[in-house]
């Protein structure tokens, strides 16, 4: 895709490159609030990146579909008769009406409610009312079917990408896979979804949320979630009585802007979020030991705790907590958050139930942790209305220059748990997507 095509933007590539400095650890607040930059993001980031749409378990049977989004484009994700997946624009090629308005369901066909153009579950236009009289048989139905996206899966997660030339999902995930596997490859049975997609819309830029899940253990260890921690403490235990963990690491993908961080052997934060039952399940139970065996590493199977992770741009999840979400952008000033929960498919029922209840208690729109994230993000966004505030230079310098690629336990580029190297990687990849039109230079 030629990103130069959007030549009416007020932003030149040279100007965009001044907004983010990986080397100096700085960024310009306009990346969070500028309308023209956002329009470029839709074309250069969201139309070229792999976007998380859901989990295989959302649509197990032929005809099962999920109505979702890639950026601001509504798409239908549909299971085919041969078990393959299709993703196509949820828009009729006649006058643009949606082909489906169910959040999810099972369909034999998708019929536009405007003039009745009918499509099969693969998205092919198959029937047009009064075809003989209206089109005199001149309509090439294949040509006038909705736009199809590429679809690929990794460990049950379904991603889609509009760009034919983008690298495969496999290449795109780069060296981040072992860190994804901590949540999604714990057993042969894989993961399944706890039903229900929670959606909420909040007035904040998508990068605030995506980068926080990529790189920011700092907010959890310092101020943001103190009251969330307090909500989970046993009676008689005060906030002052507990020690916030501080030993752990952060990983920055060598390509792609993905990142993760975690404590090592310090279950304190995980305990506060998920309670003792889930904490034991993911760190010491026979299932946790089996996960270590499967991954060939007790570090990856049992000892990384309170992990956060983002696959660029908008797929974020918390291994051990098992919330996963897509941050759908809605203009520079809003995110539509779509959250679901996964569990090990072979986990005992009471463990699945505990994951469900603790996620509702902590990482949902009413959750005692997520409530305060929502508060931070929208307040940050409000301040950007100021003429000075909207272009403030921000400090992203924690752990600058401290990462190593020779960590004894962890593959890839590794820093300390309170580093911001993954954030720098996230923004550096954003910058490359925004300024490099060709995959010849951009590819891994």
């Amino acid at each position: 895709m030629n990103t130069e095509a959007n030549s009416n933007s007020t932003w030149s590539n040279d100007d965009i490159k001044k907004l983010v400095s990986d080397e100096n650890g700085t960024l310009d607040a306009r990346i969070y609030n500028d309308e023209a930059l956002y329009e470029l993001e839709l074309e250069r980031v969201f139309a070229r990146s792999w976007i998380l749409l859901g989990h295989e378990d959302h649509i197990p049977n032929a005809g099962d579909f999920l109505n979702t989004y890639m950026g601001e484009d509504p798409v239908l994700l549909v299971r085919q008769k041969d078990a393959s997946l299709r993703v196509f624009l949820n828009q009729c090629r006649h006058r643009g009406m949606k082909l489906s308005r169910d959040d999810s369901g099972n369909a034999k066909a998708f019929v536009c409610t405007y003039h009745g153009w009918a499509h099969d579950i693969s998205g092919e236009l198959i029937d047009v009312p009064f075809e003989e009289q209206a089109h005199c048989d001149r309509l090439d139905k294949h040509e006038w079917s909705p736009l199809q996206a590429r679809v690929a899966t990794y460990r049950g997660l379904i991603f889609a990408n509009w760009d034919e030339e983008a690298p495969s999902l496999d290449e795109y995930l780069s060296d981040s896979k072992p860190y994804i596997d901590v949540m999604f490859n714990r057993s042969e049975a894989g993961t399944e979804v706890i039903g229900g997609m929670q959606k909420s819309i909040i007035p904040a830029n998508w990068k605030l949320a995506a980068e926080q899940f990529c790189s920011d253990m700092y907010h959890a260890g310092t101020m943001s979630h103190l009251s969330g921690v307090e909500a989970g403490l046993p009676e008689g235990v005060a906030l002052n009585d507990i020690e916030i963990p501080n030993e752990g690491n952060q990983f920055r993908a060598k390509w792609g802007g993905h990142g993760t961080g975690y404590f090592v052997d310090q279950p304190g934060l995980l305990q506060a979020i998920m309670g003792p039952i889930v904490t034991d399940y993911v760190t010491t139970s026979p299932q946790a030991e089996a996960a270590s065996k499967r991954m060939g590493s007790s570090m990856f199977g049992q000892r990384m705790m309170g992990q956060h992770m983002t696959i660029f741009p908008t797929c974020s999840f918390l291994p051990g907590i098992n919330t996963i979400r897509t941050w759908h952008p809605r203009g520079p000033n809003a995110i539509e958050i779509w959250t679901f929960i996964v569990v090990d498919a072979d986990a005992p029922e009471h463990i699945k139930e505990e994951f469900r209840k603790q996620n509702i208690r902590t990482f949902s729109t009413g959750g005692v942790f997520e409530q305060d994230d929502g508060e931070n993000w929208i307040e940050v966004q409000k301040v950007f209305r100021g003429n000075k505030a909207r272009k403030t230079k921000f400090n992203v310098q924690m752990g600058l220059g401290d990462s190593t690629t020779e960590h004894p336990d962890f593959s890839g580029r590794i820093g300390g748990v309170y580093s911001e190297d993954a954030a720098r990687g996230f923004y550096q990849h954003w910058l490359r997507m925004m300024t490099e039109p060709s995959w010849d230079t951009l590819k891994p």
Binding site: R101, D102, D103, S104, G105, I194, G195, G196, M197, Q198, K199, S200, I201, I202, P203, A204, M223, S224, L226, S227, G228, E230, A231, G232, L233, E235, L239, E336, T339, F340, I341, E353, R356, K357, N359, I360, R361, S364, T365, G366, V368, E370, Q371, D372, G374, E375, N376, W377, I378, E379
Partner: protein, 191 residues
């Protein structure tokens, strides 16, 4: 499995005794004042030990599936699925503890809320000392400088007779919010 709510039974139920209707409504008005005046501890004290505070997620469903609230493809998530709230006494106590913390940024400074409760329909409870009560609510929230949120919905309560000052405790509250995508940055208040 029964539907989440037997709405037909509520619609067809006879009108409650006037004194009882008055008593229950007065309880709700006072309960609303507790919430609207951030008397958190007093409000949480109204939740009985077996409290189930529940708010399922609501989905968009085409009517071709039959009744949208039927059991086959319900509009609401079921009890094994994700929800906005699914709390017992212990987790509600945790929420209270959060609210009383100095670090509860989502409610510090506190929201200004106005709980308006109406359309109260009382039906017989399953125990001698309980009532099933359906009501509608509109909750206005104004927060910090200019944030405004509006929540509307239905409550299905089990109220249990109590010797507390307000005469009842809440044994069960199912909140059916009239939103699919939540239009607020969080749900840090109670209904």
């Amino acid at each position: 499995m029964a539907s989440l709510i037997d709405i037909d039974n509520i619609i067809s139920s006879p009108a409650a005794d006037l004194a009882l209707q008055h008593e229950v409504q007065q309880f709700y008005y006072r309960e609303a004042l507790l919430l609207d005046n951030i008397k958190y501890e007093d409000w949480f004290a109204l939740l009985d030990d077996d409290i189930h505070y529940y708010m399922p997620i609501r989905r968009n469903r085409m009517q071709r599936y039959g009744k949208v609230r039927s059991n086959d493809l319900p509009e609401y998530t079921n009890k094994h699925e994700f929800a906005h709230f699914d709390d017992d006494k212990t987790t509600m106590n945790g929420r209270l503890r959060k609210l009383l913390s100095d670090y509860s940024w989502s409610e510090n400074p506190a929201s200004r809320t106005r709980h308006t409760v109406s359309n109260v329909i009382i039906t017989e409870g399953e125990e001698d000392n309980t009532l099933n009560v359906c009501s509608s609510f509109i909750v206005y929230r104004n927060r910090l400088e200019t944030q405004v949120d509006l929540f509307a919905g239905e409550r299905h309560d089990v109220l249990r007779r109590s010797d507390n000052a307000l005469g009842f405790k809440i044994a069960k509250r199912t909140v059916l919010l009239d939103q699919s995508t939540i239009l607020s940055n969080n749900i840090s208040i109670f209904f």
